[in-house]
Amino acid sequence: MTLNRTWRTTALAAAAITAFCGAALAQSGQTVKIAFIDPLSGPFANIGQNQLKSWQFSAEQFNKKNAAGVKFEFVAFDNKASPQESLNNLKAAIDQGIRYVVQGNGSGAAAAISDAVTKHNERNPGKEVVYINYAAVDPDLTNSKCSFWHFRIDADTSMKMEALTSYMKDQPTVKNVYLINQNYSHGMQVSRYFKETMARKKPEVKIVGDDLHPLGQVKDFAPFVAKMKAAGADSIVTGNWGQDLTLLIKAAKDAGLNADFYTYYAVTGGVPTAMAAGVGGKVRVVAVGHNSIPGTVIKWQDEFKKKFNDDWYTLQTYNSIQMLSEGMARAKSVDPVKVATAMSGMKFMGFAGEVQMRKADHQLQQPLFITEWSKANAKNPYSVENTGFNFQEVKAIPAYVSSTPTSCQMKRPGA
């Protein structure tokens, strides 16, 4: 599938699609266009570009064979990490007749798109759009701001924390935990969920510190590390990403803090490269997958590396397209309303086993993994960011453990 960004040809194809959808023929053999709305320029360009390549690569693989017999094609839109710009992209996509949208970089943009899609579908029956959120983890999107048209493939912050704490409560080395997070809703949520779930599971664990620092502003984490040392922390829980995580881990190593890190986002964004220089204690991650899951993951990540010399870390692309094709096969149509109805509550095979798109809030219930940053070996040969290290499974958490309740009052079409 080629990256197609000129207006004229997409408009022609869009006209073709609308004609198809309107005629409601059997879905096999059709091309389904999906809009990819994420940053492709600016500070997040490399993440967005990697994710676009991941989607296109996954689509290529699925186009060889999928349950619905359709062809998937991704049309890229650059939202420059701006929620308002995402809305412009959404309008452009709708103008081109695209009925499926994927986005994941940033819960702000996710909230904007989810809201806009819901309003558009309400105000324009017959032109509905389905939104698949593959990486924005704000729990509100499947709770207070839930929508029938929004499907979340990644596990949200609360689910990841359930999985993480269920692992941590069994670790004898976890006695004094220090929380450090970025001072915005994501970081505040990580801190809050940790305190809540740990109090429930193992109240003896002491929380020796709970810091929030401004997002992207701290250039020197040494003072925070000194505080952690003074408090006697042996484990550090953080939802930090990007520079904030890299600098924190580096500062911890420099000051000789040998505490273990429990993170959400050590897997991407230059953090592995920085960790290759050495880390103080162990670095663990809670994620939907890792580098040694047998089957699709090992096969695809090697192929991806060979083709692009980059890591395939957005494993959610597999689950998303699998879900779409299953849904279209069951609905026997590519019409978004029928497909969304089919996908709601659907069970299907993800890359790590069976998963279910929960009907109540459209949050994918899936197994999670606690992985640890370790040197590559014979059983786990993959090399992340060409460092010679990778993330190896320490514990697999089944779906029912990490499942969290929802307060979603979903309004369904026709209800």
Binding site: A230, Q243, A255
Partner: protein, 341 residues
Amino acid sequence: MDLSFFLISLLNGLSAGLLLFMLASGLTLIFSMMGVLNFAHASFYMVGAYVAYTITQVVGFWWGLLLAPPLVGLLGAAFERFALRRVHKFGHVPELLITFGLSYIILELVGLIWGRQALNFLPPEALRGPLFTIVELPGSLGFEWGTPPDICKTVAGAVCTQFPAFRAFGMAVAVLMLVAVWLLLTRTRIGLIIQAALTHPDAVESLGHNVPRVFMLVFGGGSALAGLAGVIGGALRVTEPSMALAVGAVVFAVIVIGGMGSLKGAFVASVGLGVIESFAVGSDRSIADGLMAVGMAVTPETLGYAVWSVKVSQIAAILPYLLLVLILIFRPKGLFGTREG
């Protein structure tokens, strides 16, 4: 607060402040010379880090440290000669704007040439690892050169904090740089000409000196200082395209707090801010604590609780901007301000 925590906070603050000063000094020099606030100064800092990284990959860190600042200085001088000079006659606002435009261009070009991923820019082998370790055992405070001794692991309640050698190296470079610049400005002929051109450019020009060339030298020199700061900062912290944005705004706050155009003010302000930030992180007090100490009841239901309960450690990184606003209310000239904007 125990003594070792105090010592470490002080050292961390000093090292962060001195790095900030390296950046601020170049900016102050350029400003006091030409009245133009170089918005692209942080971009030169970034270019210094990237150039040093490339040189390090080829011939080693020490050559990077030696060659990167002059290269960045050349870049700055070229910019002054071909772009800034042309805009000089339009006034101060266009001068500021052209440096603003330059910062965008440098950001994109750096991303183009070196990619947008973070680069693995490490200090040289000799400077990795700790310079000394502060060993705090229950009841005693010790000091050991090099890596932590074994008692750190065996004695319970021992808190050993390492101070990285490269940080100390960065502090040394900053102090050396300060001394060198001061000597250059006060003891050499060119320094005297620069000082004179600072306040009386017309008189200096009528005496036969090439004042535009002096301008170019100063701009290049200031950019070289930024490049030097970049070499240290890039290896100490992280080298990636967003590093310019991260330090850019703070440097301007430092300049205004210290007083525009005053090198002494820049020194005091940057070291002061570094130390304050370091200690602020260690404090978990908030306005609510202060209010409760004087007897007022503050609960989560109180109006504005979200604001009163903000801890000092949470705002440590944005203290420079708060101090900026406060300085402007109570002492608009800055701490040691000489030249008005």
